[in-house]
Amino acid sequence: MIAGLSSELKKKIAEVVARYPKKEAAILPVLHLIQRETGAIGADEERWVAGLLEIRPIKVREVVTFYTMYHQKPVGRFHIQVCSNLPCSLMGGEKVIDHLQRRLGIKIGETTPDQRFTLSEVECLGACEQAPCMMINFDYYGDLTPEKIDGLLKGLD
């Protein structure tokens, strides 16, 4: 909940806002910071950010819905984003996606019932030399094989 933002975060937000000649320009970084703490950008967060940056809430909604990295609903504790673009698929990316779906028992776009995993398909992650690759939260993993994926999933607490 937005009311509970830590004072440390609020300080960081103020620092970020000061980097721009117009407050509104800080919206992307501010949303990143908030989402990190709250897990998603819901209606409360939108209103709070609008107030902070002195813009209408609809402006925040426009941004949240345009950019794929903002979540309107929380994702699982481990957000797996697997690349489905050309270089990855040339190296067996489709098999990686199939394996992940089977292992987690969910389809692309779904979250496991225990809220542990969300699986998303994404466009090129900028790591095509390690194709096929994926991200788990903010960490990159490349040269994936079914065995490597099993090992990675096992290692998550």
């Binding site: 402006k59 345009f66 673009n85 270089p87 040339l90 466009e123 090129c124």
Partner: protein, 428 residues
Amino acid sequence: MACSKAWTRHVDEKILTEHFGLANLYEIEAYLERGGYRAVTKALQEMTPDGIMDEVKKAGLRGRGGAGFPAGMKWSFVPKTSDKPKYLCVNADEGEPGTFKDRYILTHNPHLLIEGIIIASFSVGIHAAYVYIRGEYEAVAQRLEQALAQAAQKGYLGKSILETGFDLDVFVHRGAGAYICGEETALLESLEGKRGHPRLKPPFPATVGLFQCPTVINNVETLANIPAIIQKGAPWFLDKGLAKDGGTRIFGVSGPVVRPGIYELPVGTSLREIIYTHAGGLKPGKKLKAVIPGGMSAPILKADEIDIKMDFDSLAGVGSMLGSAAVIVIDEATPILDVLKKVAKFYAHESCGQCTPCRIGTSWIHKIIKRMSAGHGEKGDVDELVRLASNIKGKTLCPMGDAASLPVLSLAQKFKNELESCLKDGSG
């Protein structure tokens, strides 16, 4: 981010990746030991802003982000006197599929980019720069932030740099997942806190850019070349490449080759050499079918078209483009329909939606290809793809319309027979 595996190989003399082997090059101490920040010192203490601009012009440095616009000329379009502040935006969005070179520069050699930023800003009269970095590169952004803090601490950023009276602040700005924000005017909108909707040009960013102020937008690799131009001079840089296209390029090779990775080689190195000598050729048992030579937006080349120099003009001459120099290798076992499907899905997903031909055209193309892929392709579908793609080309607000249509056209035309054999009537 995992960059530990040695994907870089050292061949010949390097400009950007020279000391990549050094594990801690991103620390300012290690960078200084290798002669770092001498270019900044020379530029600020011994050169004039105009002198720097001239040197960059003479060096024949063309933009590494995709369009290949001469960097020195771009800087010279910014009005010399302006009652508004001027800005530099560094394009580190790196979203073009197949491209990962800027990540290497930012991860291994962030101070080289910072030097380039300082010199460019000094030359154009800029006091604030923003590095727009794709949202997924969080670890990379942190490394850059650390490098910036170190540079400021040593007096290379902030107030009166090297006591010359020149001030510069550099900020890192993370994107949030939208390919279109790599397009320069979409990047400006995004930096201003809006959706990434490209702007109509003119006015060009050089006069009306970020916050309506004069703005230079340059790619990471473009700016990272500046220190060497200042240190070693324009003739030296030009000599590394071709007559109008100086220096080296960081070619990124992906797909089923023996050694995928980045290779810094002279502008004009042949595509065959890049694939077979540097990347080690195709993996055992695989045969070359086609190559996308400059990121996904570049029209495809067939296996017998790879004896070509990799520079802007040579590739334009055969109807393709060098773009971001991302070489995507495709093997015989891959059906062209699968390639087409990925291309179509990408552009349908990433169209910002402002222009009808791009918004509707890309999803229509994707729909037809999905149908073909499911085995329900109909006679005339390939011609329909060509018709649709031709109707996007040249009819949109930003160059993404062309980027979406050109690869489809090249695939449909060069592999017409293979694609038609996937159609109901074609398969007999």
